[in-house]
Symmetry: C2
Subunit: 322 residues, 2 copies
């Protein structure tokens, strides 16, 4: 199948199981930004992030035998919840490898969806090796967070919806900013928009120090981040662009944007006040870029990718920035 | 026109100017509640509450001359923003009477939409008299918060959307809980559902001590609250049911529900965690009833009416209840 056909097939499997998320805007937010900002609110997705799409797409695409044996995933929390939710609804056993410093709410919710959670130390352990061992021992299928065609296809359904919503809103040309970790969402959206709304240009949003994708896109070769931890944007701290995602983005994405942790927190506070949605730091990176990055066009669309944030961090953010 | 025809006409005037809000749900929230809860997220409406609907409906229904002369409204904050927004987009001058103890964010946003804000003391002043004087002096048309057929019709568009969304979700019978002040929203929804989804029964949700509608429905005659202030649910503290709204609700609504301030705050915290939406206390009353009221059916729909909340109150709520 072509890439757009994979996305269309995923959309059919997802229909009725994940939510079509709204495209929000607020006049007072536009005034602050000095441009028109539309926000695709994937924080309102089931499980609180777009990862429910990729999880559902991947689990639903498995052969029946593999689905019965079960799945395994590694994730700082949002992919974990997406896969756990999809696995539970498909009756599949599910093991999730999570870094021990993941937000408590993400660990608790992953367990609440029925998954077995195995914690590891993000700075010392090799999660790929642990995952491979567990997969082999129990006959589990590994659902990778981004380097999987069915995961990319599931995330690409965001792009299908956005193409239609943008057309309905009269938006022909715009930058589409997406919070970017390994690039699964961004590359899925890029493929969908290239086919359905070629006037919309995907660009990545990453935290300072974890801008591997922006540097890779600029240099034309995959770059690595110097460290694995150190930004508050836990959802999007991946070491390097994916094998599958980077070629797609090299071909289709515009230049990457980079935001500071404080800009992500400011974006969370502004989303609270003007859009009444809850964003986590990593899920606010694209909105932060839409608000604060230089050299943007008059109309931008930010993908607000997730809203699973510990209440104490959210409260502190409001006290500092709202 | 019949009442449903007024609502349908309002829906045509509102199309493209206010937002169709999503019907959200969360598996983990259902588990806590022990029933299926759907949430119509009017906090995601433009201006942060359903009041943008009634405001737009009323302003857009004015004769051209009246629209040019301008409008006036009195409101603790959400009707204020709804009318201010609608007036600004129609090019109408707008004066808003607000109680001096209204949340700062509501006062600031009302001004940001371009309205002239006049503050009064909620416990001593007669807002109706002040409003009448200002209307007469400047030739302004008073847009009442609930006792106006066009305002009720605008709020009723929530019911039109809900009837369609419930049908799509396979919901034939349910209690529909709505945060209730003067009853404009509740009566509008009641009229729409009676015509479009008669298996859905509207019920009011009010704070303890301000349950004038519940007592009025139970007794068959309009009751008054003993005091004007004293609940955190500022958006829905009205002295007595409306002249127009009470007869509608007497005919069409089920028994009213009553919630405590702490239950409203708990509902805000649960909406934060599981739905990733921002609610104000008065906007969370219906969700609180859906979670905590006795004698509810297996499926309930809560109208989350508003999300304009001061950040410090929201932060405190998360610290106490999330």
């Amino acid at each position: 199948m072509t890439e757009i056909a994979l996305i269309e097939a995923a959309a059919l499997r997802l229909a009725g199981h994940v939510r079509q998320t709204p495209l929000l805007y607020a006049p007072l937010l536009d005034r602050i930004a000095g441009r028109r900002i539309f926000v695709k609110a994937e924080c309102l997705q089931l499980t609180g992030s777009f990862k429910a799409r990729g999880g559902w797409s991947a689990v639903s695409a498995l052969p029946p035998q593999a689905r019965t044996q079960g799945v395994i995933a590694y994730s700082s929390g949002n992919h974990a919840q997406g896969v756990a939710y999809a696995a539970a609804r498909h009756g599949s056993p599910c093991v999730i490898l999570m870094p021990s410093d993941a937000p408590q709410i993400k660990i608790a919710n992953t367990r609440a969806y029925g998954a077995e959670v195995v914690l590891y130390d993000r700075s010392t352990a090799d999660r790929d090796a642990i995952g491979a061992d567990l997969s082999a021992a129990r006959g589990l299928t590994l659902i990778k967070p981004y380097d999987d065609p069915q995961v990319i296809a599931g995330q690409g359904t965001v792009g299908l919806e956005l193409a239609e919503q943008a057309a309905n809103a009269g938006i022909d040309t715009a930058d589409v900013l997406a919070c970017c970790g390994g690039g699964g969402l961004t590359s899925g959206i890029a493929l969908a928009l290239a086919s359905r709304a070629p006037g919309l240009t995907v660009r990545t949003a990453e935290p300072e120090g974890f801008d591997d994708m922006a540097r890779s896109l600029a240099s034309g070769t995959r770059q690595r981040n110097a460290t694995a931890t150190g930004s508050i944007c836990d959802a999007i701290l991946t070491p390097t662009p994916g094998d599958l995602t980077f070629p797609i983005l090299s071909r289709l994405a515009g230049p990457g944007t980079v935001i500071s942790d404080d800009q992500a927190l400011r974006a969370m506070a502004l989303a609270f006040t003007h859009l009444r949605i809850v964003l986590e730091p990593g899920g606010a990176a694209a909105l932060a870029a839409a608000l604060f990055a230089p050299d943007l066009p008059d109309t931008v669309i930010a993908i607000a990718t997730g809203g699973n944030v510990d209440p104490s961090l959210f409260a502190t953010t409001l006290e500092r920035f709202a």
